[in-house]
Symmetry: none
Subunit: 209 residues, 2 copies
DNA sequence: GGAGTATGTTTCCTATCGGAAATTCATCCG
DNA sequence: CGGATGAATTTCCGATAGGAAACATACTCC
């Protein structure tokens, strides 16, 4: 049975950061950090060894702060343990680390209708999120129904779910996007889109908060 | 005519991404990086030596990739050169190419296949973006094919495009998501998903960078 | 030109890293 | 208990990181 099923399905959940170890990542206990990552994945030194290509003994010594790995080795560690290098050194505000999660079912977002768009804000329950996702219905042949750019600081990702839209931005030629196409852009650059299909177009938008 | 059409239609364009370079995924040239930082401050090896407490020769060898510094030394480097550790390892926008918009056509992202997922990274041409979008194919009935949580700092938004998946996270009960459903969660909380439909499931993922 | 100065590179040589194997520690059995 | 199995730790030793000092290569200024 897969470990996830075990962990997620039955009662035996991997507890957050159980009382035992606080997992605080003080100014750079690389050893602890490595060990923690390994433990979280329930990897033995042997498994970690296979993954990283490093000797068990080496890993053991690193975890116990008995040696300072060379940069080369650090890279192997990051790769093998499937963690991004910068992440390895980030001072995570660990502590309680209470994960958050919110589900939004099809059609159950918070609607916000404007002249041009029919937005449906997703994941509204979650305050203080770094991204703002919403689904938007662009009315069919809305070509002439609006008059100005939308512009707001941040970045935006747009993915076309259904239909075809013409996507306009300042400085660029307009482009037609069909279902499955996507675009990423700085949203302080004026932008707008219109449906060019016979039906409404449906797009998924994610903005930085 | 709408102002958008006007504005977008005329010829004045900022050049997008320099078409030439494919944005190489560098193996992280630490030496070059260090040398850049030092040069930028107009520090001599001697000065850098005083700042870091490392020998001139050592610095020289590191910059010329003639040796792999130990982690201890890397720490001293970061401290002495007044740069945050994670920053040292962040993938730089190599070419400097600050594109402000990038289109990714259906199926034309950069594939990344793992045992469990078939990712397609979107908008890869755009370096230094705050979000990382990708589309993922989750193999049908992949229920037993993986064994561990995915976990990385940041937040994540998931939208189901096709099929049905079971979405697992630590601390929560697993939940089944169908096309059109979405979830927003802290991605440092272990998470994973499997397809529970007869066909592969297709999901759109956006992570904070 | 030659002496002097400032910067980066290349020797050494020792301390230590990193891997193979031996050793310890823990947990199951019979 | 003794043996067996699987994990982590600790030797041991060759390879290499890192420092001191010598060397190389500019630039000055006289």
């Amino acid at each position: 049975m897969s470990r996830v099923r075990e962990a997620a399905g039955n009662g035996r959940m991997i507890r957050p950061l159980s009382g035992g170890e606080p997992l605080r990542l003080e100014p750079l206990k690389l050893g602890e950090r490595i060990r923690d990552i390994r433990r979280r994945h329930s990897w033995t030194l042997e498994e970690a060894s296979r993954r990283t290509g490093l000797a068990r003994s080496t890993l053991s010594k690193i975890e116990n702060e008995q040696m300072s790995p060379t940069f080369e080795v650090v890279q192997k560690l990051a790769a093998g343990l499937e963690i991004e290098l910068p992440q390895l050194f980030e001072a995570t505000a660990a502590g309680g680390a209470t994960g958050r999660r919110t589900i939004t079912r099809q059609g159950e977002g918070r609607p916000r209708v404007t002249a041009t768009y029919e937005h449906e804000l997703l994941s509204v329950e979650l305050a203080q999120r770094k991204m703002v996702p919403f689904k938007t219905r662009v009315r069919a042949r809305s070509f002439d129904s609006f008059s100005d750019w939308v512009r707001h600081s941040g970045e935006e990702f747009l993915y076309v779910l259904e239909g075809r839209i013409a996507f306009y931005t300042e400085f660029y030629e307009p482009v037609v996007l069909a279902a499955g196409d996507s675009v990423y852009y700085d949203s302080d650059m004026g932008h707008a889109c219109v449906s060019v299909s016979d039906d409404d177009a449906l797009i998924l938008w994610v903005s930085t908060a």
